[in-house]
Structures are given as structure tokens and as C-alpha cells.
């Protein structure tokens, strides 16, 4: 076993995507209390991958979450998978932060931690911007290994340098991308199969350390972030207009012909 790896996994609490999700009518920010909150699914794959790497190389796994006080529920839940500790960046002034400012806060928080690798899910089910991993790499001036469906970390060479290699999932196949550590890695759900925590893991998670960071601890001005510091403003939100009532027929011998008639009527064939 080579040099141990210090790993930080970004974990986001998101509204349950299986339920109705809403924006607040007052300022169009996500109403994070209106629907059940869960750990962003893709992040569980990042946690699993971090645990696998720890098993292989030794080291530590810490979780990092930015979110309201209540996000601690998701942090505890995520800790059940087996990470060692968690850091919770929380501050009332952070509510309504845009992606640009979120990446600034997360980069500052990562600056207070020791790590060789930052792992995260390639996207969240709420914002779905898929930009945070790349933004963090940009801000931290480290390599980005984004969109991984496979990750390997080679042991350090004689100079002490360690190299990470991923298969980056693309629309047509994959790319092999390689970079020296430290690096930010984002993963898709094709990378592994997250395990279910055992009863022992669940009990152990209750006593794992969760530390809190406020904006003041990070030296970030509250006016620069959150709703009032956002780089974009929402001007309106409307529910998607319902699709016009469609035609539904029962299949018979002529169902295929009727379908082709429909396609022709819409000039699709």
C-alpha cells in the first residue's frame, strides 16, 4: 500500500426528485422545506468511490456539504455509508446562492481542509447545471477529472507524484483522461454500485464528528453571496403549460396504420 489518500466528497441535500418540487413565490428560490430532502443520488456514487479508494490506498474520507441547518439530516444519512467525518458550511446569508458563488464558498471551505482528491456527483437532481466540479477545479487551480465512469489512482512514483486516470463518459463512448493529483473528480452512476449501510454503520454514524463553518470562518462577505449576491436573477416562474389532451386508442390490427396516419398528420413522416 502506497501513501494514504485524503479524500473529500461533496454532498448536496436536494428536494426528493420523486415528489413535487416548488420554488418560493416570494423570491423564486428553491423551497427546501416544502418537499422531503434527500442526499443527491449521484453523490452516493462519489462516496462509494471514495470509500473504495480508501480501502485500496488507506487514508481518510470527509464529507463537505453547503446547505441550511436542516441539511445536517442528510449529512448524518450520508455518513452512514462509512465516511469518517463531515464539514457543514452553513450560514443564513447563503440562501439563494447562484452556482458561481456556491463554487466560491465551496472552494474556500476546501481551502481549510487537507485533501488529495475531491470527489462529487457529476450533477445534482435539483439544479442540474453540472458546472460545480469544473468551477471548483478552476478556482482551486487543480486538475479536473470530470464525468468519470471509472477511476484509478496509481501509487506515488519516485518523485512522490500521484496520477489519477478516469474513463470520462461521453455521448459517443469515453475518453481516457489523466492528471496529477490533487484533482477534482466528478462521477456518474455508471462508476460503481453504492452499498447499503449495515446496522453497525448506522449506529456509528451518530457519533461521527460534524464540524460547522460559517461565512466569517471563510473570510467571505455575506453581501457577496446568497440571494443578493447572485450573478443572475429569476424574473418569473410559470408551471409548464399542460400538453394538449392527446388521443389514446386501443390496439387492434390497424394500430400501426393509425400511428403512421398520426405521424403523417404532424408531418413527421
Amino acid at each position: 500500500m502506497g501513501k494514504p489518500l485524503d479524500l473529500v466528497v461533496l454532498v448536496k441535500q436536494v428536494p426528493d426528485s420523486g415528489a413535487d418540487r416548488v420554488l418560493r413565490e416570494s423570491n423564486f428560490t428553491v423551497d427546501r422545506e416544502a418537499s422531503d430532502s434527500v442526499v443527491n443520488e449521484m453523490d452516493e456514487y462519489a462516496i462509494e468511490e471514495a470509500l473504495r479508494l480508501k480501502g485500496e490506498h488507506g487514508g481518510t474520507v470527509a464529507l463537505l456539504t453547503m446547505g441550511p441547518e436542516q441539511a445536517v439530516t442528510s449529512i448524518r444519512k450520508a455518513l452512514q455509508m462509512g465516511a469518517d467525518a463531515a464539514v457543514h458550511v452553513t450560514d443564513a446569508a447563503l440562501a439563494g446562492s447562484c452556482a458561481v458563488k456556491t463554487s466560491e464558498v465551496l472552494a474556500a471551505a476546501l481551502g481549510t481542509l487537507q485533501w488529495d482528491l475531491v470527489l462529487c456527483g457529476a450533477e445534482s437532481t435539483d439544479g442540474q447545471l453540472c458546472v460545480i466540479p469544473a468551477m471548483l477545479a478552476q478556482r482551486l487551480d487543480v486538475a479536473a477529472l470530470t464525468g468519470a465512469r471509472q477511476l484509478t489512482i496509481a501509487d506515488a512514483d519516485s518523485t512522490g507524484e500521484r496520477v489519477g486516470t478516469i474513463q470520462r463518459q461521453t455521448e459517443t463512448g469515453y475518453q481516457t483522461i489523466q492528471a496529477s493529483l490533487p484533482a477534482v473528480v466528478s462521477v456518474w452512476d455508471t462508476i460503481n454500485e453504492p452499498h447499503y449501510p449495515t446496522f453497525r454503520d448506522i449506529m456509528a454514524a451518530k457519533s461521527k464528528p460534524v464540524s460547522t463553518l460559517r461565512l466569517a470562518d471563510l473570510g467571505i462577505d455575506a453581501a457577496e453571496v446568497g440571494f443578493f449576491g447572485a450573478t443572475s436573477v429569476v424574473t418569473s416562474v410559470v408551471p409548464r403549460p399542460p400538453r394538449g389532451a392527446g388521443v389514446v386508442i386501443d390496439a387492434g390490427a390497424d394500430a400501426g396504420a393509425k400511428l403512421v396516419e398520426f405521424l403523417a398528420s404532424r408531418k413527421l413522416v
Binding site: 449521484m42 452556482a99 475518453q175 492528471a179 443572475s232 436573477v233 390496439a251 405521424l263
Partner: protein
């Protein structure tokens, strides 16, 4: 170079492979005209005069000719062998340099995986706001996006820096323009060491046959658990081929091993917005609808009439896809033959 541009220049990052512009590039150019005058940024690997390995002068000429056909008067050309060697960062640095030099009114690029990473990094580097997966753009800079599985439409405006918009593919219909002879401005791009952090060792295309890209296809035929067996996806493939479309699958189908994971449509897979989406044996869980409900026309074939997917169908058939698909294939063949 000096900035001799009017304030309403809008930079558009062209997407191209093997000397051909992507269909989305035309959509971006149409979108850019809503905000100002498009200047298309053409980043090509290889250096001038190089015949092999990189892009030859002939490739650049071909791309400029295609841009001229789209009515683009200004092309900003930068060549560097490094564009193809490192993941997104050389492109980011080139664009950041152009934003500093040309002070455009906005930057438009494609909301692909690479495009969104470029957009995010460019926002950080230029101190700007960004909006991704934009489906509509207005003259005052307001952009619309669909959120929460397409259940709501949000309009937003960027209020910081040079607005960066990553435009969703197939969302904006490209408009014809009067062809012109573009003026090509060649620029020297200076890359720093941090552009070389993530090396691309190889790019592997996994076999997908001759079908169009799922995310670019104007027709998608998708199957779910109801397809039953992996070999029955051949029925969907046959129909897709007749319609010149791509084949997709629900998560239930890919998790169940019926079809390769790369074709998954939905919240955790790809988002598609084709002219026609034919859902076969898909129940229509909210996570699946998230990836396809912006399709212009939705056809549903499912034996369970209570499946939620029927709620968004323009044309639905309650029946066994194993019977309806062969009928459809035959009917299409007869139509083509008549």
C-alpha cells in the same frame, strides 16, 4: 488585436468534428442574432499548413464556408495543437482571452457536457454569471430554462459580467440567413500551464451503428421494462432506422440489462428534446419524463392504460408493443413503397 467591434458582438463557440459544424452551431448563431451580431469562435487543433494530424487549411476553409452559408460575417479563428490534447481548459483560456480583448455582449455555447464545463470555468475566470440549458433567449437578455424535470419554466437574467449562455440542443430552431463571405480574424491564443492539467490520452467511440446521436436526433424511439427482452430492442432499432432516429431506453431498461447504459434517457441519463419521441413499454416515472417531456410530439405504446406516460402523450396506443411495432414498421414500409 484591438477591439474594433460594436458593443453588440456576441461570441458563439462553434462545435465541429472532421470539418463539419454541428447542427447546434446553427442554432447558436440564430440565438446570438437575438442579442446582437454573431462572431463565431472557431478553435481548431493543428497549425496552419499542417496536412495531417491536425486540422488542415482545407478543413478551416470548409468550416468558414459553412459559416458563410449561415450568414456569419465574422469568424474568430485560433489554432493550437493543444485544443485536442487537454480537457476543456485550453478552450476556456482562449475564450477568456477573447472576452477580454473583444468585450462581447454575451457568449453562447452548447449545453453539452464539455460546453457546460467551459461555461462554468469561463464564468469564474471572467467574473460573470451563467445560465445553462437555456431553451429560449430574448432581446433583453432574459433566458428561459426548464427546471424540476420540465415541470416549471423559469425566466432569468444575468446581472454580473459578460453573460454566458449554454443553449440546450434542439431547443431553438435555426433560421436561414443570407449567405456571406465571412471575414476571418486570426488570433494567437496564449495558454498557461494550468491549461495542461488534464491530458486526453484517447477518445474511444463505442459502436452505435449508423444512428444519429441520441441528444441531437430529431426522432427518438425509446424502450422500457415493457420491452421485456434485450433482443426485442431490435424492433425499436428497426423503427428508429426507418424514421432516421436514435434509440433510447429508460433507466429500468438499462439497469435491467436490456440496453446499454449510454442510451439512458432521464434524470440520471440524457435529456432529449426531439421532434418525435416514441415511448415503448415505458411507464413514465417522473425521472424518465425529466429527460424527454420537452419533445415536440410524444407517442406512447404501452399495454397498461394507467401508466402515467399516457398523461403526456399526443398519441397513445394501449397495447402490446410486440404487436404494434411490427404493424407500424409494415405500415411505414407500405407508405414508402406507395
Amino acid at each position: 488585436m484591438s477591439s474594433d467591434n460594436v458593443a453588440t458582438e456576441v461570441l458563439v463557440l462553434a462545435e465541429h468534428t472532421d470539418g463539419t459544424l454541428s447542427k447546434t452551431t446553427a442554432e447558436l448563431i440564430t440565438a446570438a442574432r437575438i442579442l446582437g451580431e454573431p462572431a463565431v469562435v472557431l478553435l481548431v487543433s493543428g497549425s496552419s499548413g499542417e496536412a495531417s494530424g491536425g486540422s488542415s487549411d482545407a478543413t478551416v476553409d470548409a468550416l468558414c464556408a459553412q459559416l458563410g452559408e449561415l450568414g456569419v460575417a465574422h469568424v474568430v479563428l485560433a489554432r493550437s495543437p493543444e485544443f485536442g490534447l487537454y480537457l476543456v481548459t485550453p478552450v476556456v483560456q482562449a475564450l477568456a482571452q477573447l472576452v477580454r480583448e473583444r468585450k462581447p455582449a454575451a457568449v453562447l455555447l452548447t449545453a453539452s457536457a464539455d460546453g457546460k464545463e467551459v461555461a462554468g470555468r469561463l464564468a469564474v475566470l471572467t467574473g460573470s454569471g451563467l445560465l445553462t440549458d437555456v431553451t429560449e433567449l430574448h432581446g433583453d437578455g432574459t433566458a428561459t430554462q426548464e427546471i424540476f424535470a420540465g415541470s416549471a419554466i423559469v425566466a432569468s437574467r444575468i446581472i454580473t459580467g459578460t453573460p454566458i449562455y449554454a443553449i440546450r440542443r434542439n431547443a431553438i430552431t435555426s433560421q436561414l440567413a443570407v449567405p456571406v463571405q465571412p471575414e476571418v480574424h486570426t488570433v494567437e491564443v496564449l495558454l498557461s500551464a494550468s491549461a495542461r492539467a488534464s491530458r486526453i490520452l484517447d477518445s474511444v467511440v463505442e459502436p452505435k451503428g449508423n444512428r444519429p446521436e441520441l441528444t441531437e436526433a430529431s426522432v427518438v424511439v425509446a424502450g422500457g421494462r415493457g420491452v421485456g427482452r434485450a433482443e426485442d430492442f431490435q424492433l425499436l432499432e428497426q423503427l428508429a432506422d426507418q424514421l432516421g432516429g436514435a434509440v433510447g431506453a429508460s433507466r429500468a431498461a438499462t439497469d435491467g440489462g436490456l440496453y446499454p447504459h449510454q442510451f439512458q434517457v432521464g434524470q440520471t441519463g440524457k435529456s432529449v428534446s426531439p421532434q418525435l419521441y416514441i415511448a415503448c413499454g415505458i411507464s413514465g416515472a417522473i425521472q424518465h419524463r425529466a429527460g424527454m417531456q420537452t419533445a415536440k410530439n410524444i407517442v406512447v405504446i404501452n399495454s397498461d392504460s394507467t401508466s402515467p406516460i399516457f398523461d403526456i402523450a399526443d398519441f397513445g396506443i394501449v397495447g402490446d408493443l410486440h404487436e404494434v411495432l411490427p404493424q407500424t414498421i409494415t405500415a411505414l414500409r407500405e407508405r414508402a413503397g406507395s
